[in-house]
């Protein structure tokens, strides 16, 4: 075997060593970002929890902006880059096309993440303008530069992945179609290209404007274009999460999709239609017509919802079939009781499926209808929805796969195995309470991104929200504490394993 490869004794994959190093560094950076974003999450949650109301407005807006960037941007995308390299190189017994570009991507992404964090932390009055950075709010040019560098770095990583797939085909490291998990990763990468392209279209002119080189541009156009980046990036997360579901179903119970065509059609529906659902951010805006709203967020987007439902059938189906093959055929549910619940990767997988589907996915479809959107737009219900999809669903899936990455890629035995069993439960139950609490509170009109919903800073027409709303906010607060424990456990176990885990 080529000196650049090693053969995995457990899976049999031929692992390209430069690819493996890049997987490791992106994975570790992702977890550091999660840790920082998680601490900020706790600070923000303890402020929205009115009983505590920890931070004053400036600090709240500062940490909220960075909580958004560190979670939706840095944690998730560094982890996804690691997934892409794993799927394109390791799973295809292939070499990464040009590892030097992998390092370029990493340096750009790291620089971008650092610059974004530092500009907001050092000058929040100017730069804490939320993840959405809506024009005509204007931050310092360095802030936009940080974000753009990160996005360019991510794009380099995505293109490197596509090039890696290309050479795998050319050098015939595999035969026929891509494995399903790799096809799912490809779907995520394809969505990422459109995402990052429009991120550039939104942020480059904004950077020029912040430098005083161009006049301001239309706030509504910025919103439309931003969300081509903003929501499409969430669809990368959905698609990557589902690819990981299939991978985890295989690793935990030996399960696979019942029908390759079924699952691949579902991924292709995502590729074609899921991005235009971004229109659901613009449902109660002036300027755009009902036709545009209904087509993009409805007729075409429901094709993507169909895809989600198909995966929601295929993955649990794969698990059930695999467990029944192992002999658990008594009654309807013996396979479920006898499933490997003591494997944290398995419980994380199940929690990911349940939270993404029941909490995040369904509420997204509902909130994305024109008429219901009037009720929930910009309330904390929306925040509850996306904590169900990405903070619960995607994050749990990524936590789950970490329990395999640690022994197989880092080649270290997971430490604190007993604690690890409980980690997904702390996090999953906690974040579910956060999601549900927020969703309910928003129905009472409680807004998102608001620093003072009890006093309104002494505003003349300050009033009291229905206290029932605050009951649900308290549930969110308690959930946030549980989730913080779960998140902290994850980081501790991961870092502890890297430092102290028995070498395998």
């Amino acid at each position: 075997m080529d000196k650049d490869f090693r053969k995995c004794p457990i899976t049999g994959f031929k692992i390209h060593l430069p690819a493996e190093t890049l997987i490791k560094i992106n994975g570790v950076t992702a977890i550091v970002a999660l840790l920082i974003g998680g601490i900020m999450a706790l600070l923000v949650a303890l402020t929205r929890w009115e009983t505590i109301h920890l931070l004053a407005p400036l600090d709240y807006y500062m940490f909220l902006t960075l909580h958004g960037w560190n979670m939706l941007g840095f944690w998730i995308i560094f982890f996804e880059v690691a997934i892409l390299y794993f799927a394109g190189a390791v799973m295809l017994n292939n070499r990464l096309a040009a590892p030097k570009f992998g390092w370029l991507a990493y340096v750009l992404m790291l620089a971008g993440a650092l610059i974004t964090n530092i500009t907001v932390l050092t000058n929040p009055a100017k730069n804490a303008i939320m993840f959405t950075s809506y024009v005509p709010l204007q931050a310092a040019p360095l802030y936009y530069l940080g974000v753009i560098l990160f996005a360019v770095g991510a794009l380099v990583a995505v293109l490197l992945f596509l090039a890696t797939l290309y050479i795998a085909k050319k050098e015939k490291t595999y035969e026929g179609s891509l494995p399903l998990v790799v096809f799912g990763a490809l779907a995520a990468a394809i969505i990422a290209v459109g995402t990052l392209l429009f991120g550039a279209v939104a942020l480059a002119p904004t950077l020029l404007w912040s430098l005083g080189l161009t006049p301001t541009w239309d706030a509504l156009s910025y919103r439309i274009i931003f969300w081509a980046f903003g929501h499409a990036s969430q669809q990368i997360n959905v698609t990557a999460m589902i690819a990981i579901w299939y991978l985890l179903a295989y690793l935990t119970v030996g399960g696979t999709t019942i029908n390759e065509k079924f699952s691949r059609i579902a991924f292709v529906l995502y590729i074609l239609f899921i991005n235009i659902a971004s229109a659901h951010h613009i449902l109660v805006d002036p300027g755009v017509t009902t036709a545009w709203k209904i087509w993009n967020t409805s007729y075409a987007m429901y094709a993507a919802v169909l895809a989600s439902l198909m995966h929601a059938f295929a993955v649990p189906g794969a698990i059930e079939v695999a467990l029944r093959k192992k002999g658990y055929t008594r009654g309807l549910f013996e396979w479920l009781w006898k499933a490997p619940w003591s494997n944290p990767a398995f419980s994380a997988l199940i929690l990911s499926i349940l939270t993404f589907g029941l909490l995040g996915g369904i509420t997204g479809v509902l909130a994305g209808t024109e008429q219901l959107n009037i009720r929930v737009h910009n309330t904390i219900s929306i925040t509850g929805h996306f904590h169900g999809t990405v903070a619960a669903g995607t994050t749990l899936a990524f936590m789950g796969i970490t329990y395999y990455v640690l022994p197989l890629i880092f080649r270290r035995e997971v430490v604190a195995k007993t604690l690890a069993v409980y980690q997904p439960w702390f996090f999953g139950i906690g974040i579910s309470m956060v999601s549900l609490g927020m969703m309910a509170a928003g129905l009472y009109g409680i807004p998102r991104r608001h620093a003072d919903v009890t006093g309104f800073g002494g505003a003349p027409f300050a009033f009291d929200f229905d206290p029932t709303g605050f009951l649900f906010i308290s549930i969110m607060g308690i959930g946030a504490l549980l989730a913080a424990i779960g998140g902290a456990l994850y980081c501790l176990i991961a870092v502890g394993t890297l430092l102290k885990g028995k070498k395998l």
């Binding site: 407005p57 807006y61 809506y134 709010l137 595999y174 035969e175 026929g176 179609s177 891509l178 399903l180 998990v181 706030a219 509504l220 299939y246 179903a249 295989y250 696979t256 999709t257 019942i258 029908n259 390759e260 699952s263 109660v284 805006d285 002036p286 009902t290 209904i294 409805s298 429901y302 094709a303 919802v305 169909l306 439902l309 198909m310 794969a318 209808t369 024109e370 008429q371 959107n373 009037i374 009720r375 737009h377 910009n378 309330t379 928003g442 009109g445 807004p447 991104r449 608001h450 620093a451 003072d452 919903v453 800073g457 002494g458 505003a459 003349p460 027409f461 300050a462 929200f465 229905d466």
Partner: protein, 175 residues
């Protein structure tokens, strides 16, 4: 197995009937939801407005100030209170960091509410119904409204608009 390449030809693999049933149910659900949105525009009473015009902060402020001058009946906590005629065009201005004027409306009467911002994006959130719309600078968003209950209503800004965002609360009185 999903971690290795599939059969050479997988497109002709038959999809089992359970999956086909599931897809059928999902498609029917999708179609029902798709029909509901346009259908509600015809039969329902709560839909996003489709009426908007371009404007500028200066232009909108001028129209709003003229509206206030014409129908002002008093002031509350330093903000003008306006009682416009039934069926008329009424204005609410969003700016960092307040809403003005206070509107005094009649129950059961229909008005055309003009919303715009003099600076940043703001969010019009009417409490307690939690009725929410975007307020965008350079756009005059006209929403046809009919108050159905008397009482004091508050308008919370729910789009982050700067460091005083949490201080933006407006008021609408229905008699």
């Amino acid at each position: 197995m999903s971690v290795v390449p599939p059969e050479r030809v997988w497109w002709t693999e038959k999809i089992p009937k359970e999956e086909k049933t599931w897809i059928t149910i999902a498609i029917i659900w999708g179609i029902v939801m798709f029909i509901m949105m346009p259908l509600w525009h015809v039969v329902g009473k709560q839909n996003p407005s489709t009426e908007s015009y371009t404007t500028t902060p200066a232009e909108f402020m001028k129209e709003a100030d003229a509206f206030i001058a014409k129908y002002k009946v008093g002031a509350e906590k330093g903000v003008a209170v306006v009682e416009p005629p039934v069926g008329s065009d009424i204005y609410m201005v969003a700016q960092q960091w307040n809403w003005y004027p206070v509107l005094k409306l009649k129950k059961g009467a229909t008005y055309r509410l003009h919303l715009s911002s003099l600076d940043m994006l703001h969010g019009f959130s009417l409490y307690p119904m939690s009725t929410n719309f975007m307020v965008v600078p350079n756009y005059d968003y006209v929403i046809t409204i009919t108050p159905t209950e008397t009482g004091d209503y508050h308008v919370v800004c729910n789009e982050f608009c700067g460091l005083g965002h949490q201080m933006m609360v407006g008021k609408i009185i229905v008699e």
